[in-house]
């Protein structure tokens, strides 16, 4: 019945929505930033533990739609063990993939995150996927205040 949506709602997204990874408060986090999408009311808190420029742990709390929950869940998985510089590069690549600015983006380079490429066909939903990454970007730049997609 929802054949048209297969590119947007892939099984991986349903899986992460049902069982979000790293969904917990991190007591020893040294970065904590709140992300907010005023358009839909989605709110998430991202926790990071960064030591010597390496993201040793990442977790989140909050509620959102399947796209935003899957996006932040996948993100926390993929950035663990990455350096801050590598995470920033991923942010840029992810942003380009979801906003469709770069048609020939190397989907292999961002691995699992490619399941979210479908949002670029749904302009109203792009912010759902990018909220997590904007929040990460703010955390990496050590902006303590909450950030908003608007």
């Amino acid at each position: 019945m929802f054949d048209d949506l297969r590119d947007l709602y892939q099984e991986v997204i349903f899986d992460h929505n049902r069982n979000p990874r790293n969904f917990r408060v991190m007591d020893d986090a040294n970065r904590q930033v709140e992300g907010f999408n005023p358009l839909c009311g989605d709110r998430l808190t991202l926790f990071l533990k960064i030591e010597d420029g390496v993201i040793n742990d990442a977790s989140f709390q909050g509620q959102g739609c399947a796209i935003s929950t899957a996006s932040v869940s996948l993100m926390t998985e993929i950035i663990k063990g990455k350096t801050e510089a590598e995470a920033e590069t991923l942010f840029t690549q992810f942003h380009e993939m979801t906003t469709g600015k770069s048609e020939d983006i190397q989907l292999e380079a961002i691995g699992k995150l490619a399941v979210l490429a479908g949002v670029r066909e749904y302009p109203a939903r792009v912010k759902c996927a990018t909220l997590a990454w904007h929040t990460l970007d703010a955390a990496l730049k050590n902006q303590a205040q909450s950030i908003s997609t608007e």
């Binding site: 019945m1 929802f2 709602y9 049902r18 839909c40 959102g64 739609c65 399947a66 929950t69």
Partner: protein, 407 residues
């Protein structure tokens, strides 16, 4: 069902023949904006093709014709809400501008620091923010009437909030997020017993029921044309003549003056005093065409038909496991706001869209209502006179299917 001519009405709305994502459009976002009948579209085309010029200025034929049509629309609006005089009908861009006008003109001239303005917990942001801005500007205080879990105004709490300090009540006639229809006549009576004027936000109510401002005895009534099957960019502020006379202009400019020199300006009389600049001429004439269109059927018949639609939709929705209806007031208009367990409203919105069904997902410009129910957002199906039981069946089938897909 009644013999309401819904198929005839549907044929009058060209957009209802559109396909969305290869499916017939099921348009259930009427609380955000209604679609337009051919009569309104034709009216705009006719104005620009044959009768357009600026109004109230020219001696030439077209200007006189356009002015006649424009003022004719004012008379149609007056009759539609049974105002006593066309002097009480001010054309604005929409309900939002009308409330801002009252806040800035009536509020600033009649209220002072410490005075209280009573609103309710189910207001649209348009009936919250203008008052908050006024409070910041002149030090008035906002008081909020709470609601119960069904989404009904707590009337006793309302009465308690009416004190010697209360100088204005501003309450919605019908909630856009919950569908609640407020007991506005009693609200007005209670306020008037203490000489407090009342503004009613009629943005949601106006397309769904007969509104008689003299019977309601409200002091201000505001609504938007685009929710009344008319063009966007049109709206109406009704105000009692004596109140409007006492209020200073909201904006200055052309059309609102009698005489201007560099030392002083004499303002025009009502309603022009509040209509600075060139208005949305063709659109307001189009609003008049929308009212003519609705009058063929009568608001009572429209109201009865929509009540049947809502009852059917509610009954069907209650049978879906995991669906929670937000807003279950005893007196309710055609709005079905709901959440689904473990499925976010935005996912509901996207999935239904893929089936050609347009609903709203979000906070509906009523964030305090969302906070009250502890949800970030709801999905909202809102009905109009051109919707059918079959469309509600399509909606319900879509909801059941997406629940299955999410598992």
């Amino acid at each position: 069902m009644t013999t309401f001519p819904v198929e005839q009405i549907r044929a009058d709305f060209p957009i209802l023949q559109e396909k969305i994502r290869n499916k017939p459009l099921v348009y259930l976002d009427n609380a955000a904006s209604c679609q337009k009948p051919q009569a309104v579209i034709d009216s705009i085309v006719h104005t620009y093709s044959h009768e357009y010029a600026n109004i109230h200025r020219g001696v030439h034929t077209l200007s006189v014709k356009a002015t006649d049509r424009f003022e004719g629309a004012r008379e149609k609006v007056r009759a539609f809400i049974n105002a006593a005089s066309t002097k009480e009908i001010i054309f604005v861009r929409g309900a939002t501008e009308a409330i801002n006008l009252v806040a800035q003109s009536f509020g600033k001239s009649q209220l002072q620091a410490g005075d209280e303005i009573v609103i309710s917990a189910m207001e649209h942001h348009a009936n919250i923010v203008p008052w908050q801005m006024l409070c910041q500007q002149i030090g008035t205080v906002l008081k909020v009437v709470p609601i119960n879990q069904q989404g009904e105004l707590l009337f006793d709490e309302y009465l308690n909030l009416l004190t010697d300090k209360t100088k204005l009540v501003a309450i919605t006639h019908m909630s856009n997020a919950l569908g609640t229809i407020n007991p506005v006549k009693q609200i007005v009576e209670a306020a008037h017993s203490k000489n407090i004027p009342v503004l009613l936000d009629g943005a949601q109510a106006i397309p769904h029921m007969a509104v008689d401002v003299q019977d309601l005895d409200c002091d201000f009534y505001v609504f938007s044309g685009h929710k009344l099957y008319g063009p966007s960019g049109t709206g109406v502020l009704y105000g009692k003549q004596a109140l409007l006379e006492a209020m200073p202009p909201y904006q200055g400019g052309g059309d609102m003056i009698r005489k201007v020199t560099f030392t002083e300006t004499e303002y025009a009389g009502l309603p022009h005093k509040f209509e600075a600049g060139t208005p949305a001429i063709a659109e307001i004439i189009g609003l008049g065409a929308a009212i003519d269109y609705l009058n063929q059927f009568g608001m009572a018949a429209i109201s009865a038909y929509e009540a049947e639609l809502l009852a059917y939709a509610t009954e069907q929705a209650q049978q879906i496991k995991g669906l929670n209806i937000i807003g279950q007031a005893a007196e309710k208009g055609g709005i079905l706001s709901f959440t689904l367990d473990r499925i976010h409203p935005h996912d509901i919105g996207t999935m239904l869209d893929s089936l050609g069904i347009a609903i709203r997902a979000g906070h509906h410009c009523a964030m305090p209502v969302m906070d009250f129910y502890g949800v970030p957002a709801t999905a909202r199906a809102s009905f109009a006179m051109y919707n059918t039981r079959q469309e509600i069946d399509v909606l319900m089938q879509g909801i059941k299917s997406l629940i299955e897909v999410f598992g």
